[in-house]
């Protein structure tokens, strides 16, 4: 590497260590050093392996050595994961110890012992490595100002993982708090390569904002698994290719197989195990596994003691597993960034390309895989949409502020709107959130004597906590990550991990399922522990796990549409795919890149309408519900619909004659509110909102609530609130969350705005080749929860009555 002789880092305290290691300073490290030294807030974009962590610490270490024996906290390092935080400490330890630098550094996360935490508060280290949640907690202590008043730098690692979720909101509010405590504080963000770098800069930087970017010129080598087997029309389990996947594992030293859901992970693991004739060491890793099991797998992985790990996104971030030779992605990539992140887990060396194999599990996924490879070649990344700040996080922050001491509301408001996500927060909404923390913020004032915070008599703008005991409740509730209700699984006395309560409820004694790679038999559930034993059964239910379904990114969707339209490229695909597309062209039509194909045909007494939107699963699901209502209005007697990432199919008793009149922006405006009312989406998000805003408690010392009980009571609150106070700030907040996250409102709106001029309507006599995959997905019921409940009761009653041979009473 060509290093300028005037490189200022040659005088850096770490230079000696770098020289000894025969390492060179990267240009982006020099650039960052100079910008930060001249007072800029900086975001650094660089791929893994480009010394990102070190880049963040260059200025702090330089500064600390110059200041000599600096007392107190100097630099704060925020990591998205606890495990990553520990890894950072290990990396930092090496140069500091070897050079015998007089710099103290420690980690502080949820795993740090109370004793250590206490000591840290009394005698803070120079560098503290922590997580957003632990930072929020630190800011809620009465001596927070004292603790942070000399803070010089805050480093946000993997900043790209924070930008589009509620953790980002929490972090942004706490960074502004630190800035208030220590006005000279400088911010350094470290990020993987991003498409919209400017957005990350806007989010983080205040002082002379600067972007430093280093692009990797070595492209990863990605190919699609060449399979002799027939690629299935639909499905997500890749059973067809299991032998070929096994062959790939055998051929390389260490492989990580990434899948998209935890259920897929268990399934893939089980299937590999069944054909594991060579006795390869294969492990499984996902977020529901017990921490110790996960750590064991991670440890074996870094020491190279396994041949293959099947993993979900749980292994996407963080630790450097140097020996991983190959990545296999099973299932659709869903997004470019995500695929790159996963592919980057192999060969953590800048000069050798990462190697990856994609295994599409069905035909649409095959096209998606080709598209993803194309876009990576063009370096066309997905955009990460910054989210507007959520109300519930502000409420939690207000509570935290009150725990730290009395506060003036105008000062707090001014501080909050400095945070990028809350630039547009209205004073009126903010005041409602103050009221929410004070007494629930209801219009009906019943709780005057029970308030949590109160206004000082001499100054109504100053609020104070009524009782210090409340700080404890805040600390139990901190954070924005809400898991769905989970139960612990016990095999004998050993804990295997956590499983969704909903899944267990559907099991009867003796049913078997796969978890942690083992076939287990459900025995009993007592005191929220699921007791299991090993099972010899071959038939299993796979843990369902609600989370983890990522919609197809807009970027990749556009690329898929582009590929479909380019018929001159088809011959490059495997014959089955080419054949499939050619037949579609003859039987119906292949839509152009900006066209929306709608096919209609009769099948088995019903009338089918298939719309190819490529809008991603969330948006399509929403559109399906809206169209059901639209069809009902026109009296087409719709019976149901199924959506996937690419299309929606609806079936009805009558022919849908005026699809063009129904399918437009009016549909969204007319039916969206009704849709939100009827499904449980808002209700579920209300639960998260109620917990995050501390309206209800997650858990309390001594009265450990089960997840179920929290869910139950938040449902009741939701129902009562909607009836009596539909304008309540938390309902508003839940609706906003629903629109933003669950239903992809903006994406749907964009499509519906332009769709009516671009519809290509094909009336067919029978099903088209392109429609086959989605038609095969029709086997689920798509009724709302309320309807489902009534349906189950009705059906069960009828069945019993039939059995008893009596007639219904009503």
């Amino acid at each position: 590497m060509n290093i300028n002789k005037s490189n200022p880092l040659l005088l850096h305290p770490l230079n000696k260590w770098m020289k000894k290691k025969k390492w060179f300073w990267f240009p982006h490290q020099i650039e960052t050093f100079q910008h930060v030294r001249s007072g800029s807030d900086v975001v650094v974009f660089a791929p893994t392996g480009a010394g990102k962590t070190l880049t963040g610490f260059i200025n702090p270490i330089d500064d600390l050595i110059k200041l000599k024996k600096f007392k107190g906290l100097h630099t704060l390092y925020i990591s998205p994961l606890k495990s990553l935080a520990n890894d950072i400490v290990r990396n930092l330890e090496k140069p500091i110890k070897e050079l015998d630098l007089n710099i103290s550094f420690q980690v502080r996360t949820g795993d740090t012992t109370p004793y250590k935490k206490q000591k840290q508060k009394q005698k803070p280290p120079n560098i503290l490595i922590t997580t957003p949640e632990s930072l929020a907690l630190l800011n809620s202590y009465e001596n927070a100002k004292e603790f942070f008043h000399n803070l010089k730098y805050i480093i946000i690692d993997e900043i790209h993982t924070f930008l589009d979720n509620k953790r980002a909101d929490l972090l942004s509010l706490n960074i502004e708090r630190l800035q208030t405590f220590s006005p000279n504080l400088q911010r350094i963000g470290l990020s993987a390569t991003l498409k919209n770098k400017q957005d990350a800069k806007k989010w983080l930087c205040r002082k002379k904002p600067k972007i430093v970017s280093y692009e990797n010129s070595v492209l990863p080598k990605i190919k699609i698994l060449e399979s002799k087997e027939r690629i299935p029309w639909s499905g997500h389990m890749a059973t067809y290719s299991i032998n070929e996947i096994y062959k790939e594992i055998m051929q390389s030293k260490l492989t990580i197989i990434f899948v998209n859901t935890r259920a897929q992970a268990e399934y893939m693991f089980k299937n590999l195990w069944l054909i594991n004739k060579k006795k390869l060491k294969i492990a499984v890793h996902h977020g529901s596994l017990e921490k110790n099991l996960r750590l064991k797998v991670e440890n074996n992985l870094s020491k190279g003691l396994v041949d293959c790990v099947v993993a979900t996104s749980s292994l996407e971030l963080g630790l450097d597993y140097g020996d991983v030779e190959k990545i296999i992605q099973v299932g659709a990539p869903k997004g470019i960034n995500r695929l790159l992140q996963r592919v980057g887990r192999s060969n953590h060396n800048l000069n050798t390309p990462s190697k990856a194999i994609l295994v599409p599990t069905n035909r649409f996924e095959f096209i998606e895989a080709i598209a993803a490879i194309e876009e990576i070649k063009k370096n066309n990344l997905d955009k990460i949409d910054l989210k507007e700040g959520s109300f519930d996080v502000v409420a939690q922050h207000i509570f935290a502020t009150a725990c730290a001491g009395q506060f003036e509301i105008n000062d707090l408001y001014k501080e909050i709107i400095k945070a990028y996500p809350y630039k547009k927060l209205k004073l009126n909404d903010f005041k409602q959130l103050i009221n929410l923390i004070q007494d629930g913020g209801y219009v009906l004032k019943n709780y005057d004597q029970f308030k949590r915070i109160f206004q000082l008599r001499e100054n109504k703008n100053i609020y104070k906590l009524v009782n210090r005991r409340e700080t404890r409740k805040y600390r139990m509730n901190v954070g924005t990550i809400i898991e769905s209700p989970m139960l612990k699984i016990k095999l004998g006395t050993k804990t295997l991990g956590n499983i969704e309560e909903v899944f267990i409820q559907n099991l009867s004694q003796g049913d078997s399922f796969i978890f942690a790679g083992q076939m287990l038999e459900f025995q009993s559930m007592k005191n929220n522990l699921v007791q299991v034993k090993r099972s010899k059964s071959l038939i299993s239910k796979i843990p369902s796990y609600s989370g983890g379904r990522m919609p197809l990114s807009t970027n990749l969707a556009n690329s898929v549409r582009g590929l479909l339209a380019k018929s001159n490229m088809w011959d490059l695909y495997p014959e089955q795919i080419t054949e499939w597309l050619k037949r579609q062209k003859n039987a119906s039509k292949i839509p152009k890149k900006d066209e929306y194909l709608v096919e209609q045909f009769p099948r088995k007494k019903n009338f089918y309408t298939v719309i190819y939107t490529f809008a991603g699963w969330h948006a399509n699901q929403t559109l399906g519900f809206l169209l059901l209502r639209g069809f009902k209005e026109f009296n087409y007697k719709p019976l149901g619909f199924v959506a996937n990432d690419y299309a929606i199919v609806l079936w009805s008793l009558k022919e849908v004659k005026q699809i063009k009149t129904i399918l437009n922006l009016g549909l969204l405006n007319k039916h969206l509110d009704n849709y939100l009312e009827e499904t449980s989406i808002v209700k579920r998000l209300f639960r998260d909102n109620a917990i995050i805003s501390c309206l209800i408690e997650r858990r309390l010392p001594g009265m450990e609530k089960t997840g179920k009980q929290v869910l139950f009571s938040s449902d009741l609150i939701y129902t009562v609130l909607k009836k009596n106070e539909p304008d309540h700030i938390l309902l508003k907040s839940s609706y906003e969350d629903a629109k933003k996250n669950m239903i992809d409102y903006d994406r749907l709106k964009e499509i519906l705005k332009k769709i009516d001029k671009k519809i290509i309507l094909k009336k067919l006599t029978s099903i088209s080749p392109l429609a086959v995959p989605i038609i095969l997905e029709i086997n689920r019921e798509n009724l709302s929860k309320k309807e489902t409940d009534e349906y189950i009761l009705e059906d069960l009653e009828n069945e019993i009555l039939k059995e008893a041979n009596v007639l219904s009473i009503n």
Partner: protein, 217 residues
């Protein structure tokens, strides 16, 4: 409103989806576990539930009284959640209550939650006997048929791969348990030890409460 016919203790009852029980022969309406003022009681511990439960429960009762016009209203315990609950009864609520008391005899059987609380104009009892039926909050040792509350029974139904929980009316040969008439009240699985100890496990008649209808299992 649809009702479900229930035979218990050689008498006929109508179970309504609003979780009330009607004894036609004696024109008597029976409800249980209203837990009025539960929200206030939680607010004490800084859990701020929507303060509308009292209003809603009273409205529900009034709607039912208007429609059925019973001679008697028996409340099988836990009318109030605790001592603080009376705070949520406003002047207008008291006025409305006394208005209804002109045509209906209110019989308030004390439960574990409200045994030490008084409300002006309410007659209260530890239990109440009519013919061979005994109304009591928690079942006692007796040869009489008993109609009780207290347990907020809820039934788990697994059918065609789906599982739901529903509030229910439930009885065996001698003991009948009403669901909670309240708004912010949770429920207890009928297979829990507490309920099994009272009803046993066999020969149970279970009536889950649906949206507009009471079902029979």
């Amino acid at each position: 409103m649809y009702y479900q016919l229930i035979n218990f203790g050689n008498e006929e009852f109508h179970a309504y989806p609003d979780k009330s029980l009607y004894w036609k022969r004696l024109n008597t309406l029976i409800v249980s576990d209203l837990h009025i003022g539960k929200s206030i009681s939680y607010a004490k511990n800084k859990q701020f539930l929507p303060p509308y439960d009292t209003k809603e429960i009273l409205n529900k009762i009034f709607v039912s009284l208007d429609k059925i016009k019973p001679s008697n209203l028996i409340i099988v315990g836990d009318l109030l959640h605790d001592v603080f609950s009376t705070l949520s009864l406003k002047d207008q609520d008291h006025k409305n209550l006394s208005q209804y008391m002109k045509n209906t005899d209110f019989i308030w059987i004390k439960g574990n939650h409200d045994k030490n609380i008084q409300i002006e104009g309410f007659k209260n009892f530890t239990n109440y006997k009519i013919d061979k039926l005994l109304f009591t909050h928690i079942p006692i040792e007796t040869s009489l048929f008993q109609i009780c509350g207290h347990y907020h029974p809820k039934v788990k139904i697994s059918h065609r791969g789906k599982t739901i929980f529903k509030t229910c009316f439930i009885h065996n040969e001698k003991i009948f348990i009403l669901p909670s008439f309240g708004i912010l009240t949770g429920g207890l699985d009928i297979h829990s030890k507490q309920i099994s100890d009272v009803l046993g496990k066999n020969n149970l008649s279970i009536y889950p409460v649906g949206q507009d209808k009471v079902y029979k299992l």
